[in-house]
Symmetry: D2
Subunit: 127 residues, 4 copies
């Protein structure tokens, strides 16, 4: 389990007075980046880990200045992919959203899926 804390900012809200639904996907990716060093992957240049599936369920409305805690866990791993699950709660302990992302490990040149390198497998084993 990895935990990330953030605050809902004005640019993540919309004129309905709540968080724009897409903001959840920004927030969970920030959580992911705070755990997994994407810059190192990109700089190494051998493979990419694109998201091949993403989904979110919205349980309660988030409003400006809400303190959001994201808990991220490993939901599944395969030969060449891993699935992360996220739970977002606000400052009152209410679950505001749950989400999931599926990441595929692909060769940077060919774009084809490859067996997950040990460095990635080891990193997510720590979750």
């Amino acid at each position: 389990m990895h935990t990330y804390e953030t605050t809902l900012r004005l640019h993540q809200t919309d004129s309905a007075g709540i968080a724009f639904y897409g903001s959840v996907f920004l927030i969970i990716h920030e959580c992911y980046e705070s755990f997994f060093d994407i810059a190192a992957i990109l700089n190494e240049g051998k493979y990419l880990v694109p998201i091949v599936h993403a989904e979110a369920d919205y349980r309660a409305m988030m409003v400006l200045s809400d303190r959001i805690t994201v808990e991220m866990g490993l939901a599944d791993t395969g030969r060449s992919s891993y699935t992360l699950a996220y739970r977002l709660t606000n400052q009152r302990g209410e679950v505001v959203a749950e989400a999931k992302t599926v990441h595929s490990v692909v060769d940077r040149k060919s774009g084809k899926s490859i067996e997950m390198p040990d460095s990635i497998r080891d990193r997510f084993a720590k979750l």
Copy 2:
């Protein structure tokens, strides 16, 4: 079926050289807004139509300046909700993503789900 065309812009890409995964959720919502007059809903002030579930499958990479065509159809309707399905293709006719959003009709004051007003039901019947 409603069709929306857009171009992938620089702010929707990321330093992996492709579209940031969250951009798909911006693009499909722009498609939705080009069909359904959300401003009228918000101005009327009686109800809101928050998204309660969203998901996307990424089939191929989108890059800067790709011409994206979004086709939006009605996948399902219930007493107080409707589900929209989207297919995104690029200028070469390749499907780059498929997505779905589930919208719930709720009373603005109470936040509770209510029966879908005819005005909304009629609008989506035209899809």
Copy 3:
């Protein structure tokens, strides 16, 4: 003069009920991209044209679904830079914002400013 039309979308508004101030910078860059082929520059790989200064004056509030027309003109050119000026008007003909971006032509490897290539100079001469 180059003209670009867009509609203010929900993700560009905020819970103050108006356009988030940063949205103007997205909109003018979309206008810029609709005139100048940045993808070609990036693919060619010789130089970059980073923005070194940007500014905006907000004249009137933009709200959801406003139809925005952007007029872009060339305000200045130097040995290795060009300045673009933008005027944004809404569907009632009101000026909602004015903005400016200064772009510097730099060598991709060294990051140092270089003399503007003819291809770029010629393109902006058409404005």
Copy 4:
């Protein structure tokens, strides 16, 4: 002086491999929100404090995962407006950007500028 720390995230970068220029305006506004309680202003409902001018100078490129420190100071105050100045440095102490925002205090109903309330004046006096 108010200080805010953040990390440049993937969605703030673009396919040129650096921070999208608009990201600076998101980052400085997050800094502003971490000091000034905009939610309280919006909930009170008497006035708004829209940004009427914004500008940024880009000194060095920001890349994915850069640790950014924002220092925010009060540059000027008038009868009904205040100007904030920002300096962004990275983890190597390099100044990557400088920016400025001018905020006007307006009556929420009429939209006309009004004398700055003491509550706001007092808050920024603490900068």
